[in-house]
């Protein structure tokens, strides 16, 4: 897209016209530098009372840095923040809370070992007696339609409830501005709807919301104003209700985003490559999820997606299929061979490949070079990486070059350590490393988690292309947009039960949402 990059000067005029007596927060020329990187470059932002203000941008555009300065967890290197017309120094989160700025974090900031009321007490300056606070929590949470039991231990609660705790904690601080960092990424569509109602109510009461999200549909639906960041600078401000998700996306990226489609090529379905038969496993730790009677046929040529809210057994299912969790032999069948009791190397030799969710630490060893990380998953799959117990650095290096080129992995110097890559680039690498093998069966958990739009499109297209070339692909994902984009069939996992995989054409968001919220479980229990 030939979009002209608007300068900060334009944003300035936008600010001047927007700031007035209703202005709550007025940031002027905020700058933050980390080493050589300018994370925020003279950012101007105006938030008015009663406004749901979207902050958009790709990963690394500087959104989190900006809101951390509002919440006092980072100190700006330049510029100033005006709160209700007065210049303020927000030295720490307690100061932000005193001003009336609350924050709901992207990665929950809850203490798992503590109870709901203890978690909330920690965020309040004067929590008072625990029993009084418990009563207040019950009243406020019921009042906003987000009921909570104050004595539950957080570790026992599902993600949707955990977010409720964050929101109620924020509400009890009686804030005038609530900052929300990707609040819906872990919610079912129904839970998200409930959140939107709460936000609209808060806005009506005069509270302002600064809303960070990658989900442009919902930004268009609930936000009144949007500020778009790219490379640390404000590039545009707009009224999202007058835009389309596609136009918002191109403003963020600065170019058109390629759209991916599974339906453009009809799949040629072949025989079953991977079969799960009544797969069950007990929870390995008190905080893990048990798998119950999971059955699924994955056939050559198709992409099957497993939707579900985080923490419903996705990780455990992945471990069971990859061989990290040993099972009875006939629970997992690869190309007709029972292998539930076989290890991951045996399964890889059967042309299966696995990409786990956590790319740094599980998918790649942080302190090892990329070429060494390649050897770790491909040492015994006929790639000539190991000769008589010696590692062939030459072959591993060649492979690293090939993956880098095919999957556009960007790095500052040749063959760096895995930890030095940005999240998106490392994700392209760990997915690319397995795709490069042209595996017969590919299992991938959260293929594009935390990856920007351009890289996500590349990875999704590669997954579809692999399926169309005759392989079977199983994608576990929490991103419904992604699932509807690439899947031929969709199953839903809920509390360790898997629903029947149905053709994408028969599914819609509402149905998937109902299955996520326990429908899959009911189906599984009947079966």
């Amino acid at each position: 897209m030939a979009e002209t990059v608007t300068t900060t000067g334009d944003a300035n005029t936008g600010r001047q016209s927007r700031s007035g007596k209703d202005t709550l927060l007025d940031a002027r020329g905020l700058t933050k530098r980390f080493g050589d990187i300018l994370a925020n470059d003279r950012v101007d932002l105006v938030i008015n009372r009663g406004e749901i203000h979207a902050l958009l941008g790709e990963n690394g555009a500087g959104k989190s840095t900006l809101v951390k300065m509002f919440y006092g967890s980072l100190e700006p290197d330049g510029g100033e923040i005006l709160w209700q017309g007065h210049r303020v120094d927000i030295g720490n989160p307690a100061a932000a809370r005193d001003l009336g700025i609350g924050m709901v974090f992207q990665h929950f900031s809850l203490f798992e070992a503590l109870s709901v009321v203890e978690n909330i007490a920690l965020a309040l300056p004067n929590p008072g007696r625990m029993s009084d606070l418990s009563n207040r929590i019950q009243t406020v949470s019921r009042d906003y339609g987000l009921p909570l039991n104050p004595n539950d231990i957080v570790a026992d609660l599902p993600v949707g409830i955990r977010q409720r705790i964050e929101i109620v904690r924020c509400l009890l601080q009686e804030p005038q501005l609530i900052i929300m960092d990707e609040p819906t990424s872990v919610l079912t569509p129904q839970e998200a709807d409930l959140l939107f109602l709460t936000l609209e109510r808060l806005a009506k009461e005069g509270c302002a919301v600064l809303y960070i999200s990658h989900r442009l549909e919902e930004v268009k639906r609930i936000c009144h104003h949007a500020t778009i960041l790219r490379h640390g600078q404000v590039v545009r401000e707009c009224d999202p209700t007058k835009e389309t998700p596609a136009s918002l996306a191109s403003m963020m990226v600065g170019a058109d985003v390629a759209s991916v489609s599974a339906s453009s090529q009809k799949p040629v379905i072949g025989e079953t490559r991977l079969a799960l038969k009544n797969l069950s496993a007990k929870a390995a730790t008190p905080f893990a999820t048990a798998l119950n009677n999971i059955s699924l046929d994955l056939r050559a040529g198709e992409v099957v997606a497993i939707a579900g809210v985080a923490g419903n057994g996705q990780g455990e299912l992945f471990d069971a299929i990859s061989g990290e969790m040993p099972l009875a032999a006939d629970m997992v069948v690869l190309d007709g061979k029972p292998c539930g009791n076989r290890n991951i190397t045996w399964r890889r030799r059967q042309k299966a490949a696995f990409v786990p969710e956590e790319r740094l630490g599980h998918g790649a060893v942080p302190g090892m070079k990329l070429s060494q990380n390649i050897v770790l998953t491909r040492h015994s799959t006929g790639d000539k990486l190991v000769n008589a117990a010696f590692v062939s650095t030459a072959n591993a290096g060649k492979m690293e070059q090939r993956i880098k080129k095919t999957f556009d992995v960007r790095m500052s110097h040749d063959d760096p350590e895995a930890r030095s890559l940005s999240g998106g680039n490392l994700q392209k690498f760990v997915v690319g490393r397995e795709l490069d093998r042209k595996p017969g069966v590919l299992i991938v958990n959260q293929p594009t988690w935390g990856v920007d739009a351009g890289a996500a499109a590349l990875i999704r297209q590669a997954l579809i292309d692999l399926a169309r070339s005759g392989s079977a692909v199983l994608v576990i994902s929490q991103d419904l947009d992604e699932i509807f984009e690439i899947a031929d069939r969709i199953a839903v996992i809920s509390r360790g039960y898997l629903s029947e995989a149905e053709p994408t054409d028969n599914m819609n968001r509402e149905r998937v949402g109902l299955l996520m919220a326990g429908g899959a479980e009911a189906q599984g229990e009947v079966a």
Binding site: S73, E75, A94, F105, E112, A113, L114, P286, F287
Partner: protein, 304 residues
């Protein structure tokens, strides 16, 4: 006879209890200080030396606490400010303590020491049997019980205790909420050092009122193990410390009556019995997991 046995059990258990309750607070804040043995032995030698020079047991105890705190301040500076590896630093602290205490104590070997007086609690100490056992002890025994109750109350009933537990559970979140992780941990480490020093003073001023090189003989390590096996719960530390004390005392009596059991096996009994019982009571994995400080031993560097 039974009375005497009970008395020796209390004497054997008290240093373990004091050192362990201090380390429990340290670990609840997310710091693993393996230097308990080193801080304890420094407390023992400094306590003995000061009591010997001044003739005051009280000054000896205060000096022992100060010595333990000085050692822990060194540890805290290294692991919290310079973010060194906690395991390696703790081990180094123990080695330093053992060596340095030997150097300080050289002049005091063989000198008869000063024993802390027993305090008779008026009224209570006259109760038959219970009185002599529980209410005619030296001050440190009473302090050890007061410490357990105070620590349990602090951790689970006060706001500061809640903050300390939150720092040990998730230092990133505690920092995001605006709590000073480093400062809270430093305070906890200092408290642990004070307790270890006090436990050392008990060794050289009450248990055996003299200075012998390496006289703590691994009790710091046992205190460390008790903390873990008791799932970081103060009352369970009492059970562990007294059980260990009891079995080691009974073991001495068993050796005295010359049972037909190899003495090596008898000597290992306290360890075996303590591990067995604490493993059994920590069979409730959920309770254990909820009470395990999730950030234990992990370095924290604020992103500012």
């Amino acid at each position: 006879m039974f009375e005497a046995v009970l008395l020796t059990i209390i004497t054997a258990a008290t240093p373990l209890l004091i050192a362990a309750i201090g380390e429990l607070v340290v670990e609840r804040s997310g710091v693993l200080n393996l230097g308990v043995e080193g801080m304890m032995i420094m407390g023992a030698v400094v306590g003995f030396a000061v009591a010997n020079q001044t003739g005051s047991g009280t000054l000896g105890v205060i000096a022992a606490i100060a010595a333990g705190m000085a050692m822990s301040a060194l540890f805290g500076f290294l692991v919290l400010v310079l973010v060194t590896n906690q395991v390696a630093t703790g081990l180094a602290l123990t080695i330093l303590g053992i060596g340095f205490s030997g150097l300080i104590g050289e002049a005091f070997i063989g000198i008869p020491g000063l024993k802390l007086p027993d305090l008779y609690i008026p009224g209570l100490s006259d109760i038959p049997f219970i009185g002599p056992v529980f209410f005619q002890q030296d001050a440190l025994v009473y302090i050890s019980f007061a410490l357990v109750i105070a620590v349990a109350y602090f951790l689970f009933r006060t706001r500061l205790g809640l903050v300390l537990r939150s720092v040990g559970d998730n230092h990133g979140s505690a920092h995001a909420l605006g709590y000073s992780v480093i400062r809270i941990r430093f305070a906890a480490v200092l408290f642990g050092g004070a307790c270890a020093g006090l436990a050392g003073a008990y060794m050289s001023l009450a248990y055996t009122p003299q200075w012998v090189e390496n006289m703590t003989a691994g009790r710091g390590w046992i205190a460390l193990a008790l903390v873990v096996f008791s799932s970081w719960l103060p009352l369970r530390v009492v059970i562990g410390a007294y059980l260990f004390g009891a079995v080691s005392v009974l073991n001495l009596h068993a050796q005295a009556v010359e049972l037909d059991i190899p003495s090596q096996l008898l000597s290992s009994l306290p360890y075996l019995a303590t591990i067995l019982v604490l493993v059994l009571i920590s069979a409730n994995r959920r309770l254990t997991l909820v009470n395990t400080p999730a950030c234990l031993g992990k370095p924290f560097v604020p992103d500012r």
